[in-house]
């Protein structure tokens, strides 16, 4: 039984309903499900979720992230991924004989990399895989909870931005987005706009119009 409807706004402690499964932004008490965050309720048939308005990044398997190498140890690196939890990356990503290799030849402290999260344990320590070093370009901060909107369903939003700005863009689920080449200014402005109005209905169309308008103005200058 639901106490709310689709697209209702909630704050921590608001009753969502009972006899439903709590998602990670809710909690259950006495048979009832309550919101744990401020956000937007989405009801999709029997699935209920709360889309948080903001929040930090907690590592998740398969996420692409952008991080900074913090330490080079024997057989592995430690990487800061803008989360309270540090990630490790095994030396085996670059060398078979990781323990005997000087790993700083590949990635040294301060290097910026994008990589995929492999395993995550119960205290959120994680392992990174498939690293790629980032040199030059720019990294901007985006509220991690709003990053999914920058990507869009099946990357629809992200591809649209890439196409209309001509920029290379890598989106880190941990709230870091790398941009290089093309109309970097417009890419940044567009991403910031999506971040601000993330759960607006029809946002994709509005962003499409915005990109067209701004591109036209640039050409006519």
């Amino acid at each position: 039984m639901l106490n709310i409807k689709d697209r209702d706004l909630v704050v921590p402690g608001d009753l969502i309903g009972n006899e439903i499964l709590p998602d990670m932004n809710c909690y259950m008490e006495g048979g009832n499900v309550y919101s744990a965050v401020e956000g937007l309720v989405r009801v999709d048939g029997r699935k209920i979720k709360v889309v948080p308005s903001s929040g930090g990044y907690i590592p998740k398997r398969e996420d692409v992230v952008i991080g900074v190498v913090m330490d080079v140890l024997t057989g592995k690196w430690l990487v800061d991924i803008n989360s309270p939890y540090i990630c490790a990356m095994s030396g085996e990503e670059v060398s078979r004989d990781a323990a005997k290799t000087d790993l700083s030849r590949y990635y040294k402290v301060g290097d910026i990399i994008t990589a995929k999260i492999g395993t995550v344990n119960e205290v959120f320590s994680c392992q990174l895989m498939k690293p790629w070093k980032i040199e030059s370009g720019l990294i901007i901060d985006v509220n991690p909870k709003r990053v999914p909107r920058v990507v869009g369903k099946q990357k629809s939003m992200l591809n649209m931005i890439r196409e209309k700005t001509g920029s290379r863009i890598i989106v880190g689920q941990n709230g870091k987005i790398w941009i290089k080449d093309g109309n970097v200014d417009l890419a940044i402005k567009t991403i910031k706009k999506i971040e601000k109005y993330a759960q607006t209905q029809g946002l994709t169309d509005q962003i499409s119009e915005y990109l067209d308008k701004e591109s036209r103005e640039k050409i006519s200058l």
Binding site: D80, S136, I139
Partner: protein, 259 residues
């Protein structure tokens, strides 16, 4: 996460080489300045919240009475202190002031003291009793150039400070007996050196990229200077910073009012 430090340094430097700044400013331009006098006027005799871009600094003036310094028995006393509150940045820690916080306080203090901004001679109450002026600079949000933001906030607060009533040996809080006498209005101006370029009012990202900075506090004269950072300046660069400080000082002084 210090990603900002590493990559932004290169990004900012590349922009500077193309004669550009991250927020589109000219090299000799300040960020937008918002001055809010009397921000906490119900308690503090003087106060001012300054927003310099996204940097937010609150200066509060407290007044007390006490003994003058023995070598200046007829002068009032001023004291400046700065707190880098941990609310203002993930890099600020709770605890006693560190060298950065102390440097900001002392540079702002020098600018105000050496200019004779507060007319200390007019703060004598009676024999062996003078007004004591405390300038407390409370950093709330750090996006670079805390010296200028703090210095402007302190000076604007001082311009709007009222002296409390002093009667029968005690201060009557909440009642006032006139304004704090201000003789002149020093304004600090900080220029950052990135490569060979000089940029006025560095943002936090620009501070990451800078090799050195020079703060010059001016009235009609230069009253205080402070070079910071591990890089160096040549004479021409220094004179350019001085000239910028006089010009910016004039502009910003106009924005401060005694309203």
């Amino acid at each position: 996460m210090e990603i900002e430090g590493y990559l932004k340094k290169d990004y900012i430097t590349n922009l500077v080489n193309e004669s550009k700044r991250e927020d589109g400013r000219k090299f000799d331009e300040h960020r937008k300045i918002i001055i809010d006098n009397g921000y906490v006027k119900d308690k503090a005799p003087g106060s001012c919240l300054v927003q310099l871009g996204k940097t937010k600094v609150l200066a509060g003036i407290s007044i007390d009475v006490g003994e003058p310094f023995p070598d200046r028995p007829k002068d009032g006393v001023m004291s400046t202190s700065t707190e880098f509150r941990p609310i203002a940045s993930p890099r600020f820690e709770s605890g006693p002031p560190n060298e950065d916080s102390i440097e900001v306080a002392r540079v702002i203090d020098r600018g105000i003291r050496e200019a004779g901004a507060i007319d200390l001679k007019k703060l004598l109450i009676e024999d062996n009793l003078v007004w004591i002026v405390f300038i407390d600079i409370h950093i709330l949000d750090h996006d670079g150039n805390l010296i200028d933001a703090g210095g402007i906030a302190a000076m604007s607060a001082l311009l709007n400070t009222r002296l409390p009533k002093y009667e029968d040996g005690k201060i009557i809080y909440g009642e006032y007996s006139g304004k704090l006498p201000i003789a002149r209005v020093p304004i600090p101006c900080t220029t950052a050196k990135i490569g060979k370029a000089l940029l006025v009012d560095p943002s936090m990202n620009e501070e990451y990229a800078m090799d050195a900075r020079l703060t010059v506090s001016t009235t009609d004269n230069i009253n205080a200077m402070q070079k910071g950072g591990t890089g160096s300046f040549n004479e021409e660069e220094i004179m350019a910073c001085v000239d910028a400080a006089f010009e910016k000082g004039k502009e910003i002084r106009k924005m401060l009012s005694t309203g």
